[in-house]
Amino acid sequence: MTQPRNPVEPFLRMDRMPHIWCPGCGIGVVVNCFARAMLESKTDIDSVQVVSGIGCTGRIAGYLRMDSYHTTHGRAIPFATGLKTARPDMKVVVFSGDGDLVAIGGNHLIHAARRNVDIKVICVNNFTYGMTGGQVAPTAPIESVATTSPFGVFEQPFNLAFLADSAGAVYVARWTTYHVRQLAKAMREVLQKPGFCFVEVIAPCPTIYQRRNRLGDALDAMRFYKQQSKLSEGADTRTLDIPMQGPIPVGRFVNRDRPTLLENMNTVLGKRLGAKFTPYPTGVTR
């Protein structure tokens, strides 16, 4: 009898397992859901390219068995923008942590959303910088403890869903690692949707965030997500703040259509240059 294989294995570099993430780290769950989304949507593995930046989440690129790029800190989005422009036929997916994406690379995030670059951004939000030892992240809830704020964070954190929405993302959702089915579904949806899509995943970091804040282990975090998540589909994104150990609004908040960057380029330059202009392939079929 042949031993059955885990159905997600074809999407993973199994020779590199076990991975470096800590026991119960939520990043593995996100990868698992992504592999599941690829499998369920029967997406061709060769049609997807993965880009990540630096940090614990940045390691995702090294574990997915597809063309993947581990870029410099905060620069996953500019790299992905170039990649998508050179190869509009490819689906480009960015995996990035909250610190990498929103602090170091924050400007890239808002401009990619504004321009509606046709990339899919999955942000693993664990409210901290894990790999570098727990400094205050732009998502750290007020009163949470970090190595650089031992008496509690007093800066207002970003509400990422609101940020992505107001900058122009065409798809914005937030789930936690407890919501594995919903998360896999959101990933299936963004793989099909043209334009700048943003999926935030609240994930446990037991080693840094949970431990510093005495919040127990990863399983405690998962139980907390189960109890405290508030389904808020379609909610006004201004209302989606995440208070320290308070309710977590989850759901799909934005799903709209706008022409992508390359479509807009073709429209504007086509109008101005007429027959002299050869439209650039956009990879979008509408």
């Binding site: 059955p4 997600v8 026991p23 939520g26 769950v29 990868v31 698992n32 896999a184 579904k185 998962m222």
Partner: protein, 88 residues
């Protein structure tokens, strides 16, 4: 007497790759049929991987597989074609 009771045919089967498990317990906690328990024995890395304590209750839903951050566990449905078609 025991023979008279029709043994329920298990609907699914769970597989654990013990050596890559890190013992987080997600699978044990979120298995809807409470099939799993963490082993008292260790794997080579010093973690307690799950074992099927009630294998007959497994329905092959593969929720454990979706929750596992280490790709160390998965469930398969028995008696159906290989196709893995979870409702989304």
């Amino acid at each position: 007497m025991a023979e008279k009771e029709k043994p329920k045919k298990p609907k699914g089967e769970v597989h654990v790759n013990r050596e890559v498990c890190k013992g987080c317990g997600f699978c044990v906690e979120f298995c809807p049929s409470h099939v799993l328990a963490l082993d008292t024995a260790f794997n080579r890395k010093g973690y307690h991987p799950p074992v099927a304590a009630k294998p007959e209750a497994c329905n092959g839903c593969n929720l454990c597989g979706l929750y596992c951050p280490d790709f160390a566990i998965f469930g398969v449905r028995l008696g159906k074609a290989e196709e893995d078609s979870d409702e989304g």
